[in-house]
């Protein structure tokens, strides 16, 4: 009897590991930028190319930096959520328009709504590299002192907004 119990136990242990593996997201690579100052940059704004934006402009505020592009399919998926979030006006959302064409980006916002306080244009993706962007959309929660407190890879879901982003934003805004 005992002889059969050992392989069975091994099988169940394996099963548990595999089950845990299924719930993990391989795209969710922990960002080394967490709790580090948001990398500085100075980029032109999408709506007004003569004006620029730096993360330093947001000092003293809790804000979200959302990396998006008109060619990015998952960005469309999360977009209504961002628009609704911006309407509530909890914290400002700044867009980082990543490796996009100006006209496409503007059309996209006109068509699906513009939740952003402003969008900075990262045409060649160099700022994206500094932020460790590897799959748009990505969202960073940045605190009043300009530290990255959280990085969310992939489209924001109602669930991740409710359980991760909003509680963190509320805590940081205190």
């Amino acid at each position: 009897m005992k002889r059969f119990l050992i392989p069975l136990a091994v099988f169940f242990v394996l099963l548990i590991f595999l089950a845990i593996g299924l719930t993990l997201n391989p795209r969710d690579v922990p960002s080394p930028l967490k709790d580090k100052p948001a990398p500085a940059f100075k980029l032109p704004q999408l709506a007004a190319a003569d004006k620029s934006f730096s993360p330093g402009d947001m000092k003293g505020k809790v804000w979200l930096l959302n990396v998006w592009a008109s060619w990015c399919v998952s960005c469309r998926q999360e977009h209504p959520l961002l628009v609704a979030f911006a309407k509530e006006g909890t914290v400002p959302v700044v867009g980082l328009n990543y490796k996009d064409q100006l006209a496409d980006a503007k059309n996209w916002l006109a068509k699906f709504g513009d939740p952003y306080l402003l969008s900075a244009v990262d045409a060649d993706g160099r700022v994206g590299i500094d932020y460790g962007v590897y799959g748009v959309p990505e969202t960073y929660v940045i605190d009043k002192s300009g530290m990255i407190r959280m990085k969310h890879t992939g489209p924001i879901t109602p669930e991740s907004l409710k359980t991760q982003i909003l509680p963190l934003v509320a805590e940081l805004s205190k």
């Binding site: 391989p26 690579v29 922990p30 960002s31 080394p32 930028l33 490796k99 060649d124 993706g125 160099r126 590299i129 500094d130 932020y131 460790g132 962007v133 590897y134 799959g135």
Partner: protein, 154 residues
């Protein structure tokens, strides 16, 4: 007619040459390219996670290779370039992550499994050795066995 055909052929021939643009200059310097490939083979492409940065066609991989070339041209050491990548994408970009508390299991795990396997094998062999030893027969059993053998022989 013949001449026209010839001209047409020539035009078509050279049209191809005119349209084919020269491949984008990958690197001005072969040495830079060599070092870039060596470094990027150590790095994982985060877009297609099972490909190295050197072998990936993902746009991000191209951008990162360009960035590596630039840093080599600026005279950065290999370590500085690797640190640049790790600072942005974490230890996960390295195919050989540094040994530290969070990666102990990763580095030591296979050896733990090996030790466990050897232990199980030794236990199994020992048990088999004791089990397969000839069973002791009592005097009574011996007689009965002999009787049975005699019966079948006759």
């Amino acid at each position: 007619m013949k001449l026209r055909t010839l001209v047409l052929c020539c035009t078509l021939l050279f049209a191809g040459a005119a349209m084919a643009r020269e491949a984008a200059p990958m690197a001005a310097d072969v040495e830079i390219e060599k070092r870039m490939v060596a470094i990027s083979e150590e790095l994982r492409c985060l877009v297609c996670q099972n490909e190295s940065l050197s072998g990936s066609h993902a746009e991000l991989a191209q951008d990162l290779r360009r960035e590596i070339r630039k840093m080599i041209a600026e005279g950065k050491t290999d370590k500085e370039i690797l640190d640049f990548m790790v600072a942005r994408y974490g230890d996960f970009v390295r195919y050989r992550p540094p040994v530290k508390p969070t990666t102990w299991l990763l580095w030591g795990g296979p050896f733990l499994l090996l030790a466990g396997g050897i232990g199980a094998l030794i236990a199994f062999l020992r048990r088999r050795a004791t089990e397969s030893a000839a069973p002791e027969l009592s005097e009574e059993e011996r007689r009965r066995a002999a009787a049975l053998l005699d019966q079948s022989n006759s």
